[in-house]
């Protein structure tokens, strides 16, 4: 999971990218980055941590230009270091090229070995770089043709935003594993992992980029291309369950309503046991929509039995005689007047380690 954002044709491209990434922050908190294009010149700023921590007036001022792409990273492949922070910026025979990638390639290691044997030198441990090296070796005169030829060699999930040769290119892989949507902000075009960021920047949602589609924005127009063979759709179920924000529309559905329906379905498949239940309690904030659905379906009242702290920092000093489940206790507090002596149905969006 990562978040990507792009804008083409706006005087404040880097500022808008910054706001767009802020609204996609839930998709990745490890690093944040923005590349802008000022004519053919590309400018890059990346930082570890949150967008609001890593970006301020100084580095935004170092990002002139009317087109921008940005990335918030959640570590999957590649280690947690600044050099793996995206967007990547490469200089190659055709000038500069910046790329932001959400997804994972399954044949990246194999391609990398082949390229290195032929003399290629890689700069990161990210599978995204494989795409760029493949691109650098194509001979077609047109960027779009070189890109398609390169992408036909990789398999896996990729929603991409690319800045090069004065163009912004948005690509969604043929299976459509990861989301990618398109909107309009006055005269400019915006691209993002989710629609949730459009409200903040006052952009209008146009449509989703379709699986296998390549959209190219340049000075003349925005054009759609379909350079790949069709493939069966494989939209990742975790986007609706967990990754996306409830105020996004994905794959034609409201994430909030999808979660609420899952809560209703849960109430049908798993009603309270024979003794019944007094209260439905959500694990805030992600469990709330499903808890509302469960409550409506079952008729059991919903109460705010758990509080989420707004002040959880990253490094906490834990007492030596360790308090049980300290991390969770710091984040969530029970409201005793709601839960004491009650039979509870507790709803979260998913169950991973079970600590919560």
């Amino acid at each position: 999971m990562c978040g990507i954002f792009g804008i083409y044709g706006h005087d404040e491209a880097s500022n808008i990218a910054y706001l767009g990434l802020h609204a996609l922050q839930h998709r990745g908190q490890e690093s944040a980055g923005i590349v802008t294009a000022e004519g053919s010149k590309l400018h890059r700023q990346v930082a570890m941590g949150l967008v609001s921590e890593g970006f301020g007036k100084d580095n935004l001022a170092a990002l002139p230009g009317r087109a921008a792409i940005g990335h918030v990273r959640y570590s999957t492949a590649g280690s947690s270091e600044l050099r793996n922070a995206q967007p990547f910026l490469f200089e190659y025979a055709h000038g500069g090229l910046a790329i932001a990638h959400n997804g994972n390639l399954v044949n990246a290691a194999e391609i990398r070995t082949r390229l290195e044997r032929a003399g290629s030198i890689f700069q990161t441990s990210s599978d995204t770089e494989v795409i760029v090296h493949l691109l650098a070796q194509q001979r077609e005169p047109e960027l779009l043709d070189r890109l398609a030829a390169a992408l036909r060699q990789v398999t896996g999930a990729y929603s991409l935003l690319i800045l090069a040769e004065g163009k912004l290119i948005a690509v969604r892989d043929p299976h459509g594993f990861r989301p990618l949507v398109m909107g309009r902000l006055r005269d400019s075009y915006v691209f993002a992992s989710e629609t949730s960021c459009f409200d903040l920047i006052e952009a209008e949602f146009i449509r989703e980029i379709e699986p296998g589609e390549v959209v190219v924005a340049d000075r003349v127009a925005v054009r759609s291309h379909r350079p790949f063979a069709p493939a069966p759709p494989r939209f990742c179920v975790f986007e609706h369950v967990y990754f996306a924000r409830p105020d996004s529309q994905l794959n034609g559905q409201s994430v909030y309503r999808a979660r609420e329906r899952m809560g209703r379905q849960l109430a049908i498949e798993h009603p309270p046991g024979p003794g019944g239940a007094d209260v439905v309690v959500a694990v805030p904030d992600s469990g709330v929509p499903a808890a509302m659905g469960y409550s409506k379906q079952s008729g059991i009242p919903l109460e705010m039995g758990l509080l989420r702290s707004h002040y959880v920092g990253r490094t906490f000093i834990e007492p030596q005689d360790s308090i049980r489940h300290f991390g969770v206790r710091l984040k969530l507090s029970p409201v005793r007047s709601v839960v004491d002596g009650k039979r509870l149905v507790v709803i979260d969006d998913s169950l991973v380690r079970g600590t919560t």
Copy 2:
């Protein structure tokens, strides 16, 4: 509004104070501080901003001792500077004295002028310092007597925690304007503005400090004193409306239930107009309990129509062609699938500037 915390007789006093302040963070985010007592020696660490930002292993390690008091500050009187961060630590004829104060004195300026004319030099612009100067000028041999003599000269709101001469002293003014509660953590005693912090540190709530009560913890015992003339109770209504955390018990009442009842009352006094309403929406998180009360009383379903961002940093770059109500939009996002085309009842805990 500020938050204060104290602990007497614990090997990890500074760590526990740090956790206690974290759970009181909602009462003040401007500065945080802890003073510990190691025998008669007092150690002080203060920082601007949140507890989790200002405190780490290094400054907690610089706070040895088995007694501690702490403070989170919300600026009311005195400007926002590090030198106004509490607890204050003073050296005077009887050695060191640390003090943490929640409340405002109404005759502080008048007393200060009188003291300065006699040669006193103040170190801060805080009204709390007046108490210390008055204390320094008393001649009684016992600290408790000097303190009572000093406090009888001030009028206004004060819940105090004081470390001096190997004692921890908790004071609540005769009117009981501000809360102050007492609990037990194994063999140690804890004092705090709210009960909400007791869950995190696994302390047991004993009782509220009563208006006009002075509790002194030392090596021998914990004793209660009543050096002031009785006064009518004047507990601040904003504690239940706005300041306190919903999981606290204050003045014998659950804050959560109090807010829910206010929501019910609101539904009775202000039902939807003649056209009716489709959905009750809370402004998260503080408006949720009242919205639940309103929904239950009115029968109008509650939905999560507003999302609150977890990633709002303090300094945000605003686009030049200013987006309307930018600050609020950054913090709160509408869930269109809930609110579009609906008649809404929107509930917040209070209405101050009306921006939200």
Copy 3:
């Protein structure tokens, strides 16, 4: 040893103070501070470490006003903490007062105990604060009279610069232990521990402040006062030996020439032994003037046998299997082509621990 600087009547008072302190940096590297007066309002900025580290555009911009005093601290009395960084700024019955002090008082502890017993609360562990408390307790209507009454109670070394009530006051104690000089920069007056800083700011040296003299600069004029009984002069010999910069004039003498004469005298009192010597080598930079004097007097040629590194930082990682005399080796390197096989006379300004 500390360095003090003051300027009265200049549009860039804080910038000039910053430069003046830079040129006095050799007198103290522990902390640096500047207070400016903007009408009756005083502004203060202090920082640990060097002037060039602690001061930049931001804190200089926070120092408006046409009068300034500054201080560089070398720890003697009082521990090494930011709260002991001078100039001190106090608010008392007559408004704000800032003070910068070079010297040590011998009866400070005794006075402090007396004052604390009467209810005074001290803010620092510095002996300078005693002067301010004494001042706060005087009843005379004129500041100069209160100051004289206060200073008559202290004994010891004090060169002072004070900003209060729109005046800049320069005081040198009756014995004249520490230096204090006065100059002119266009229409403004400057005061400093040494003349060395006048060249940098293009000020003209007027004269030394005399022992027991109090000079007051205000909007009307610069006036000299003599409120103390005469006392025998006791100028500190270490100023010429070690503290002051060679390009300063102190007590009517060039520091450079004084050191050169000491080198000549050393050659007379301690000529090389019977075997003679081949080369005179100075420990740079402080030993150079005396080495030149020794070389001239003895006829033995001077060579640069030791290099001083310009890059010695404050924290160095020392190898585990400790290199002998590591600290000195880092700072000073022998020039083998000069010293190998030679009989050396090595000259330093003084011999304290003998490590060098």
Copy 4:
């Protein structure tokens, strides 16, 4: 100008590299970096600024291994950014390779264009990277053969230190433009731009690496190779004039003595004019050896007429009504008692802009 340092076979390789770089700091202050080899694994730390600023316990602890190479950079080719800080570390088909380079290649741009057209992607704007890409494309099984084949394609100045495949390789170009020396520290071998750093780490100077020589240190032995055709020697004259430290031996000569002889020669070629001169004054510190030579040759006495400040930071606030030659005045102060009214011969190591 840059400085390079390497060590092979020492338990504290990174600490020794740190000290070695410190003693080479005069050769470059823009960035500093160290790469260590722990078996086949390479670790890299780089920082902008001085060695003592950028390196501390934390990043030295992140540099395990018994071999290290380091670099201090003085910007010549390539812009001033962290990504141009050396040593560079690349991953390629044969694993990791680190390289530190002192010198400039004259055909780098031409080779880079050729490589990029064939699909290579460069990571830096440094000419050093060309060497690595050429190396990555060679097919010989032995690293030394691939390296020689790559270096035969470049022309210009290069003293190199390379860590790869468990070996440390030192290379000096066929013309010997830049210095490179070799020493022994107990059982380990050290390599450096200058001998000056050997004193600090207590290493023994063995000999200079000769022009066109490649020295390979591995677990078995240290071996010398000569893979290049002989070329006429072209040692850079500025090493003796300006770059190197006076306590170094370069090209068989003491730098100190070389500068002193230049001063003597200057006195012969440019004696004082008809009016004579009273004093020889050096611009400290670099002008001192030549000034001593001039003084000895001419018989005119040397005096310390200029002081150099030890406290010049990098960012200084300049007064608005600009003081003339402010930068120089901050660094150098005249000693009036030496220079006032005298006819001076002022000696510096070189005359570039003439500001001093």
